[in-house]
């Protein structure tokens, strides 16, 4: 005998059921909460760690867009000053005025023979605009002894490793010999103003940081530099900035310019590409685990109510409706739990995103190019996603017990 289909107010029922046993609901929801919080924080941390790496790369190596003279990179092994950019300082000033550009930083990189206290070694000379570079290269963060070189003075910040090899300390003098932009011999006698530790062995064993003007005069590069790093306001706009820089640089560098975006620096591109894949894998793993916890809890919570379902079935509720009821109840709990979890996870992520997670206590010298503090980066997509997925996971998890309950004969169910 078929009855007219009653309209079952599923959502209201689901809501009411959820409220009936607050403890059980809370328990199930708590599983989703923890999972959601873990996912939000996990993604935020991962993003922060990756941002850290790419940020350091941009600041120290490539900028968002790097301008060099044509041929310099091909001969990068010898850092030839004769392939430098004359007028780089003016060029940098003009590039900084382009829309979307945050800053343009001229830098000099060259090999130098370093002579000190009788021993001599090959080193890498880095000429920096010390005022500008407090935001970029950040030499102040590497200082372990003494102080930074002052603009206009023949002083150097020397990597710890090479200072040790040369047997010099703060206050001692070093003689630097370089091949100038005319392929002639140049040099300078500098005082060791301070010692630096970047954490990167290849830098600490070779680097000598001097003020840009000192390097310029040593290399016969008045107003020039070997490269200009352009930083965009927003890293995501690099492609637009790249086009603008290419246009602005046209004709200004003898022999042609080499303008490259950071992703064309194959090393960095590969690193980030691998990180995307890694992020996806971790995302998947976290979801899988979170989902398992939710399924587990849901299964148990719902299976205990077999009797209750049996009652409802006995009262005439159709099987399909019963399943739907259970699933929606699961979804509601999941959504609730997800909201709470996303909120907690977001709170933690946002808080740590400001204070940062400081690893420097645990690793004195990290050779990977990232600074010792990681700032988790919160994204609303993560929070929203985890709520949605919490509801989805819980709802799906409820399917199994729902089916089972629906299949039971009412009499059996009532007996349990």
């Amino acid at each position: 005998m078929s009855e007219p289909r009653r309209k079952v107010p599923f959502l209201r029922l689901a809501w009411r059921n959820a409220h009936r046993s607050v403890r059980r609901t809370a328990l199930t929801a708590s599983a989703v909460t923890v999972a959601a919080a873990a996912v939000v924080f996990g993604r935020g941390y991962m993003r922060g760690a990756l941002d850290n790496i790419s940020d350091t790369f941009w600041r120290t190596e490539t900028g968002h867009v790097r301008v060099r003279r044509e041929g310099f990179t091909a001969r990068e092994r010898s850092l030839p000053a004769y392939l430098s950019i004359p007028g780089a300082v003016d060029l940098a000033r003009d590039l900084a005025r382009l829309p979307g550009v945050r800053a343009a930083v001229p830098r000099i990189r060259s090999f130098a023979l370093v002579d000190g206290a009788g021993a001599n070694r090959g080193g890498v000379l880095l000429g920096l605009d010390l005022a500008l570079e407090t935001d970029f290269w950040r030499p102040q963060g590497m200082l372990v002894a003494g102080r930074l070189p002052a603009q206009g003075r023949a002083e150097a910040l020397v990597g710890e490793g090479i200072a040790r090899k040369l047997g010099v300390g703060v206050g001692d003098s070093l003689t630097l010999l370089v091949q100038t932009s005319y392929r002639s011999l140049g040099g300078l006698r500098v005082a060791v103003a301070g010692l630096a530790r970047s954490g990167m062995a290849f830098l600490d064993n070779a680097m000598l940081i001097v003020a840009l003007d000192q390097a310029q005069s040593m290399l016969d590069l008045e107003g020039g530099a070997t490269e200009v790093l352009v930083f965009a306001e927003d890293a995501d706009d690099t492609d637009v900035v790249l086009a603008r820089v290419q246009e602005a640089v046209r004709g200004r560098i003898p022999g042609g310019a080499e303008v490259r975006a950071w992703w064309a620096q194959s090393q960095l591109m590969r690193l980030l590409a691998s990180s995307d894949a890694m992020m996806a894998i971790v995302w998947g793993l976290l979801l899988l685990m979170a989902g398992l916890v939710v399924v587990n809890t849901m299964l148990m919570a719902v299976m205990e109510r077999t009797r209750e379902f049996g009652t409802q079935a006995a009262l005439g509720m159709r099987r399909a409706d019963l399943v739907r009821l259970v699933v929606e109840e699961g979804a509601v709990i999941g959504a609730l739990g997800g909201v709470v979890g996303a909120a907690i996870g977001s709170a933690i992520t946002l808080y740590l995103g400001v204070t940062g997670i400081d690893f420097s206590a645990y690793s004195r010298a990290m050779a990977l190019p990232f600074s010792p503090v990681v700032y988790p980066a919160w994204a609303w997509a993560d929070a929203l996603g985890s709520v949605a997925l919490g509801a989805l996971a819980a709802g799906l998890a409820a399917l199994v017990p729902g089916w089972r309950a629906a299949r039971l004969q009412p009499a059996e169910a009532l007996r349990t």
């Binding site: 023979l113 002579d115 001599n120 003689t175 011999l185 140049g186 040099g187 006698r189 005069s217």
Partner: protein, 252 residues
Amino acid sequence: MTGTRTAVGLAVLALAGATAAVAQVTAREVLERLDANMTIRTARMRAELVVHYRGGDDRTMTFESWERGTDQSFLEFTAPARDAGSRFLRLGDAMWIYLPRVGKSVRIQGHMLRQGFMGSDFSYGDASENPSMVDGYDAVIERRDTVDGRPTIVLSLTARRPNLSYPRRRTWVDAERWVPLREELFAASGRLLKTIALSDVRRLADRWYPFRIELDDALQTETTTTFRVLEMRLGVAVPAEVFTVRHLEGGR
């Protein structure tokens, strides 16, 4: 008739005898004469060093030098302005460089010895070697040849000591003037490393001297170097204090 023939015959004989006399000069003698001609007791020189780059640029520098024997030399660059005042001192096989903007001398050693002198094809290591041929090398006359219209004796040289940079050399020595006109420098395996062409030979006091030297590194085509003597005076008095590090750093 017979008289003329005899005369010619005698002349031919005489010539043959003379040639034979020349042919009988030993390789060692050639070297000795070469050394005698090329080694100076004291000298002052003004010269030009030009480095030619593969891309087409040239870089020209001028310097003044003081030499004493084979062991001591002092060099100061006078042009262009950015190189002016750069100085080099060689004492035996030790070399120092002084740049006015550095203000302190640096001893050239280790890896730097392999680098070219002021970026030229002539390495610091090359410059610091004792140039005496007869002490360093055993010689064999390979053949005769003509270079720039001059009759030359081609010597094949083998180093007598294992620590000489170029274990084998081939030198074309002007048979009359005892000036090297061409040199090829080889590694121990016989692989050609450098080629030197000497020309513009002029009479200088009691000897002949090449006023133009072109150097080519056989292993790279990036650079070639030309060295031109602008002015040279031999036998001048050169005070010993010139060849000191103090002088290197302190100036005249």
